[in-house]
Amino acid sequence: MQHSNTQDTLVGLFVAAGIAGLFFLALQVSNLSSFVEEDSYTVSASFENSGGLKVKSPVSAAGVKIGQVKAISFDPKTYQSVVEMAIYSQYKTLPSDTTASVFTAGLLGEQYVNLEPGGSDEYLEDGGKIELTQSAIILEKAIGQFLFKSAEEKAEGKKK
């Protein structure tokens, strides 16, 4: 009887340890804890080019994450990329003339939406639209422009 009691305890400990391991993975390792964040409201913005932005990319203001990208779609009428963002409800006081830009974290890092609050007294509401946007900087384009420019300067220098 004694033996079987210790065995029960050990099996109990084992199962508890396994479940604790699962909880550790779910809460400490994965992004599950950021989903638990209370409800959010949706705001959309149209970009000329949303670059490498993905669903679940962070939306931040002043460097702090205040939401995430919910959906990205292509508008066939304006030929623009429509990005829907879920902003956490606790950040309700974004001015209606907030600027949204697509930035890159680090040189090769992932892209995120940066919101820069404006000065309006009116606040963005659920389903609201951010009018002022700035597209992602496409590295290839920037390099192309740079090369083109320097080639042009060289050609001009030769002419003189």
Binding site: S4, Q7, D8, L10, V11, L13, F14, V15, A17, G18, I19, A20, G21, L22, F24, L25, A26, Q28, V29, S30, N31, L32, S33, S34, F35, K56, P58
Partner: protein, 260 residues
């Protein structure tokens, strides 16, 4: 030529009949689950011998695998100046691949071979036929609790392996090599997805637990009842389990992480 064709035919027939017997065996085992409910003691005993006794080897291997990942990852990542992503690398490789696969391989070696040898010896010493004489169904009495125990223990062991490995990577990365502790965890949390990574890894470990235990029990039950037969069956358990784990891992990975 005829001889070759004969051999080919015989091999095909035997392997297919074996697969058929195996499936039938699995079906009978699964129907026996209802009989466990009034006798939880049978299951607890088996969870003890399959799970608790494998606990130590899993935890120690997990710790060392995590620590090695920490070291190797650091050497490569620091070449690119990306040491902060060490946590992500360790966690992603453990949760997606190494956790389920290495645990399943160790589980097949530690618990699977023991199951095969135990049941094979029971058959060789005619304990199984003895049970049948007493109108006790050996599958329901002996096989089902062991099957269920393996099925329960394997995902728990895999979760422990990954968790301990991540901590091991942290010990090496932040303690020894000087990666920032906050960056280790935040990079991990920002990029490991609950559904895509953790749940898929968990599903993998469930599948591996199911297959490994099934192979171990069936090889034991199907063994030639001699000492040589038992030894061969034990070898086959480990070899076949390893093949099926690695093959299934490829298929599951292709299905789970294929798109996006």
């Amino acid at each position: 030529m005829t001889k070759f064709l004969n051999t080919l035919g015989r091999t095909t027939t035997t392997s297919f009949t074996k697969l058929g017997r195996g499936s039938y065996f699995l079906l009978e085992t699964l129907t026996g689950i209802i009989d466990i409910v009034p006798r939880p003691r049978l299951l607890i005993n088996q969870v003890y011998s399959v799970g608790v006794l494998s606990f130590l080897i899993i935890v120690i291997s997990g710790l060392f695998v995590g620590m090695v990942l920490g070291l190797q990852g650091y050497y490569i990542l620091s070449d690119f100046g990306a040491e902060e992503t060490l946590g992500l690398m360790v966690a992603a490789s453990l949760v997606r691949e190494l956790g389920p696969v290495v645990t399943a391989l160790l589980f097949a070696g530690r618990a699977g071979s023991a199951l095969t040898a135990e049941i094979g010896l029971m058959k060789a010493t005619e304990q199984l036929s003895g049970m049948e004489m007493m109108a006790v169904d050996p599958i329901r009495r002996i096989i089902t609790p062991r099957f269920l125990a393996g099925f329960i223990a394997m995902p728990l062991l895999a979760a422990l392996f990954s968790a301990v490995g991540i901590v091991g990577g942290q010990i090496v990365g932040t303690g020894l090599l000087g990666v920032d502790d906050g960056a280790y965890w935040s990079q991990m949390q920002a990029n490991i997805d609950f559904e895509d990574d953790i749940v898929n890894g968990f599903i993998k470990s469930i599948v591996f637990g199911f297959v490994t235990t099934w192979i171990a029990l069936f090889e034991g039950y199907d063994t030639v009842p001699t000492s040589e037969g038992v030894s061969r069956a034990t070898t086959r358990t480990v070899v076949n389990s390893a093949f099926s784990i690695l093959g299934l891992d490829f298929i599951l990975t292709a299905l789970m992480f294929g798109e996006d």
